[in-house]
């Protein structure tokens, strides 16, 4: 009861001051008011509500910034210590003892006396760049083509045939042939990974578009004469945002994994990527005392992929409008 009283009586004010008669305004009554809703603000509100997301995002930001800034500050020379036989395959302790304490030596040295710490960050930069560039190209083409593919029945027929055939060409064959024809450089690797990679994303998007395309609200929209482009951008795209973000969460780390895989089977690029580091240090894994040079790139690759994956997944969850309530 107290609550109710306090709602309607204010100290020192008369009823006349508190209440005034409002005219009926037919124009105002036509307006619909709702709480202000901003899609992206809600996405980030939901995303940052989970404390774990802040931690992982911080880790991810640190790793990416470090991978881009650190290698440009140092001058990494892989064969700088090549002639120094006593500098090869050192454990962190021994390396610090030999060279004096500096950040370069905290993970020991590799096969040609190079700093493992410097190597993994140089490698990370290449791998992360590859993943982001490939994902950007594949997602852009894939989403655009997938949307058209999903809408047009004629294109669907043609594209399904293309998909059935191209999807069956062994990926490693395609990549290795392309790498052989050009050169095992960063550019040809990007080309090899994006040459058919977009098709699989397009297929995924096509399926999602077909699912949403024939829903009742779109049928109603079409009956009311909404143009197709408007349906695509206003009715379907918002639905797709969360799907696309979730897909991106899987795609970006998968390129890092794929690069590691290709390098391991000897079909990678010539740049010192994480995959190539792992490939070259494989024999070190079984040699006692040399494990650091093998496990360092493996661990950093895992950290990057897990952080990217978790961030993306949770961002995907947060970008689903149904979680904004």
């Amino acid at each position: 009861m107290e609550n109710k009283d306090s709602l309607f009586t204010v100290e020192g004010m008369t009823d006349e001051e508190l209440f005034s008669l409002v005219d009926h305004n037919s124009l105002d009554s036509e307006k619909i008011t709702a709480p202000r809703y901003s899609y992206w603000r809600s996405v980030f509100r939901v995303f940052f509500k989970k404390k774990i997301n802040i931690v992982i995002l911080a880790v991810l930001a640190f790793v990416i910034l470090f991978a881009y800034i650190y290698p440009s500050l140092i001058s990494y020379d892989r064969f700088g210590n090549l002639m120094d036989a006593s500098a090869k395959h050192l454990k962190p302790g021994a390396a610090i003892k030999k060279f004096g304490f500096s950040i370069h030596w905290i993970l020991g040295t590799g096969a040609s006396g190079q700093s493992t710490f410097d190597a993994i960050w140089t490698g990370s930069r290449i791998s992360i760049s590859l993943a982001f560039i490939c994902a950007a190209i594949n997602m852009t083409i894939g989403v655009l083509v997938g949307a058209i593919w999903g809408f047009s029945k004629k294109i669907d027929m043609i594209m399904m045939e293309v998909y059935n055939i191209v999807g069956n060409i062994p990926m490693i064959l395609l990549i290795s042939v392309l790498v052989l024809i050009f050169s095992p450089s960063f550019g040809s690797m990007v080309f090899a990974l994006t040459c058919t990679g977009w098709l699989f994303i397009a297929y995924f998007i096509r399926t999602q578009v077909i699912i949403i395309r024939d829903r009742e609200y779109n049928l109603a929209s079409r009956c009311l004469g909404t143009p197709l482009t408007r349906i695509a951008t206003k009715n379907i795209l918002p639905f797709m945002t969360s799907v696309i973000v979730t897909l991106l969460a899987v795609e970006i780390p998968s390129y890092i994994g794929y690069e590691v895989f290709l390098a391991y089977i000897g079909m990678g690029m010539s740049d010192m990527s994480l995959g190539r580091l792992i490939y070259e240090a494989e024999s070190a894994m079984v040699t006692p005392g040399w494990q650091f040079e093998f496990w360092s790139p493996v661990v950093i690759a895992s950290i990057i992929t897990v952080a990217l994956y978790v961030t993306g997944q949770n961002l995907g969850d947060a970008s689903d409008p149904r979680t904004h309530m």
């Binding site: 045939e161 059935n164 055939i165 999807g167 069956n168 060409i169 062994p170 490693i172 064959l173 395609l174 290795s176 042939v177 052989l180 024809i181 899987v250 780390p253 890092i256 994994g257 590691v260 895989f261 391991y264 089977i265 000897g266 079909m267 792992i278 894994m285 093998f294 493996v298 661990v299 690759a301 895992s302 992929t305 897990v306 990217l308 994956y309 978790v310 997944q313």
Partner: protein, 525 residues
């Protein structure tokens, strides 16, 4: 339904051949053809002109071009009767340089050149390379031959028509006399001494001696009548067909006492049932003439290990079994305890196994496995079954994560649907709803993948087999690519695409059996 499946199969077959065409165009026209010699040791030993001639011979053997040497041309003329043998011998030896040719030789060389120009061949004449005026350099003898590149279409037609070959009694050249050609059916296989009851069909004039026979190895009844030729290997397993490379047993010889056709009894690993025809081989060496009574002397051997596909499939099929055995209950548990501790733990596992590069966790398993004393390298001679543990675990753990992820997702989707609410309001217990409704509906998309998983076991796994040195089929493609073995690449591409086509169709059929709502024949689609 049958009609629909047949139509799909035909369609799939066509797509597979399109895949093969694309692969062929990629590797035969886009890649440098010199690459095929990268790992050829014979090639390295040849020098100068002989090296070039060897390259052309190999290119002909592997279908790049059609090669005709000057001597072939002359012999052809002799066959046609346009040249007598005496003149042929005279004109056959060409000079060290064109200007050294005798008048008669020069005339026939000119004829050869004209014939080549008329038929689209490109003539190559290599002058002799001399160390001293009298002494040839290594492989420096003069060469004269002509070659014509074969188009990919020609190669494709040849490949497709040669895919399946049926043995017949006219296989051996008609000019060769081997007595009466024909097939004989016997109830007492001579390999077993001729007394034991063992039906067999023996051919004379065929490529294989035994066309049908029984033995003690699964599936007991074997045939050599129909052979599959996926493509001849160059570097991986020189001269052997990919299909044989994949299916032939490996490992050490299994010796047993056996009686050869001549009656000779000896300790041997020879598999007499695999005898194939090699002309003149019986008389060629003492070992063969002691053992065999005809030219069917080329035999393969009994070996202790499994074939490449055998190892991959053994590992793969156990893995598939374990994946469904563990993945399904764990996925159900996660869906049931949504947002509880178990679900969170499972999600953490799924995140780890999907995000971390497969190479990383396979090495992790290898390191852990090695610590607890499991064998980390595969040894065909080992009798211990423990060698299978790590490869199976490395393959199963990520696949289990995948099943858990999708089953949980499908089940949670189903849990929110109206029919579940209706079932609950109808008074069904939660257990019944889960078992009879949710699980049934949620498992349909998973059922679709089962044939793919099983057939995928035949293909093997690239990284796992490499890390644990399993002699399986998974690595064949990557090895072939690394050694530029085009025959193997094409064969494997066809094998992969056929398997994927079949597994998708089998999956579609399977879900239509499991789910009566799915029909491929009705009009309402």
């Amino acid at each position: 339904m049958t009609k629909y499946v047949l139509k799909r199969l035909l369609h799939g077959l066509i797509s597979s051949f399109v895949v093969v065409t694309i692969v062929m165009i990629m590797i035969y026209t886009m890649l440098d053809r010199n690459l095929i010699f990268a790992t050829d040791n014979v090639f390295k030993n040849y020098g100068n002109n002989e090296k070039t001639a060897y390259m052309y011979r190999k290119w002909e053997e592997y279908g790049y071009l059609d090669l005709i040497t000057y001597n072939d041309y002359l012999l052809d003329l002799v066959d046609k009767g346009e040249l007598d043998e005496e003149t042929q011998k005279k004109v056959a030896s060409i000079g060290k340089k064109p200007e050294n040719d005798s008048e008669l030789t020069a005339e026939y060389v000119q004829k050869f050149n004209d014939w080549c120009a008329a038929n689209g061949y490109t003539v190559t004449r290599l002058n002799a390379i001399m160390v001293t005026p009298k002494k040839y350099a290594n492989g420096g003898a003069q060469q004269l031959f002509a070659a014509k590149d074969l188009p990919v279409t020609h190669r494709l037609v040849k490949y497709v028509t040669g895919l399946i070959s049926v043995d017949n009694i006219h296989f051996v050249d008609e000019d060769i006399d081997l007595g009466k050609r024909g097939l004989t059916f016997t109830l007492h296989d001579p390999v077993y001494g001729g007394d034991k009851f063992a039906p067999a069909i023996i051919g004379n004039g065929t490529y294989h001696k035994y066309l049908l026979y029984v033995d003690k190895v699964f599936p007991y009844l074997h045939q050599n009548l129909v052979t599959i030729n996926l493509g001849k290997s160059y570097a991986v397993n020189a001269g052997i067909d990919v299909f044989d490379t994949m299916t032939k047993k490996q490992g050490s010889y299994v010796m047993s006492t056996m009686t050869f056709p001549t009656g000779l009894t000896e300790e041997s690993a020879d598999d007499l049932h695999s005898a194939t025809f090699v002309y003149g081989s019986m008389a060629a060496n003492k070992v063969n003439s002691d053992r065999f009574t005809d030219d069917y002397t080329s035999v393969s051997t009994y070996k202790a290990g499994k074939s490449k596909v055998g190892y991959s499939f053994t590992i793969g099929i156990i893995e598939v079994f374990l994946v469904y055995l563990f993945g399904i209950p764990m996925g159900i548990l996660m869906a049931k305890k949504k947002d509880k501790f178990v679900d969170k733990l499972g999600t953490a596992y799924i995140v780890f196994i999907t995000a971390v590069p497969s190479l990383a966790y396979i090495f992790l398993f290898k390191a852990i496995g090695g610590k607890i004393g499991l064998p980390t390298t595969f040894d065909m001679e080992s009798t211990s079954k423990l060698i299978y543990v790590l490869p199976i675990v490395s393959l199963a753990l990520p696949a289990i994560g995948n099943i858990m992820k999708w089953l949980r997702r499908y089940m949670i989707d189903q849990m929110n649907s109206d029919y579940v609410k209706f079932a609950r309001s109808g008074g069904l217990t939660e257990g019944e709803i889960f078992r009879k409704h949710i699980l049934k509906n949620a498992s349909i998309p998973l059922v679709h993948g089962i044939p793919g998983q099983i057939l995928g076991a035949l293909v093997g796994a690239i990284i796992t087999e490499r890390v644990y040195t399993v002699p399986g089929a998974g690595n064949l493609m990557t090895i072939a690519i690394n050694q530029y073995d085009n025959g193997v690449i094409v064969g494997m591409a066809l094998f992969y695409s056929l398997l994927s086509v079949i597994s998708i169709i089998a999956g579609d059929v399977l879900i239509s059996i499991v789910d009566p709502r799915i029909s491929y024949t009705g009009k309402a689609r």
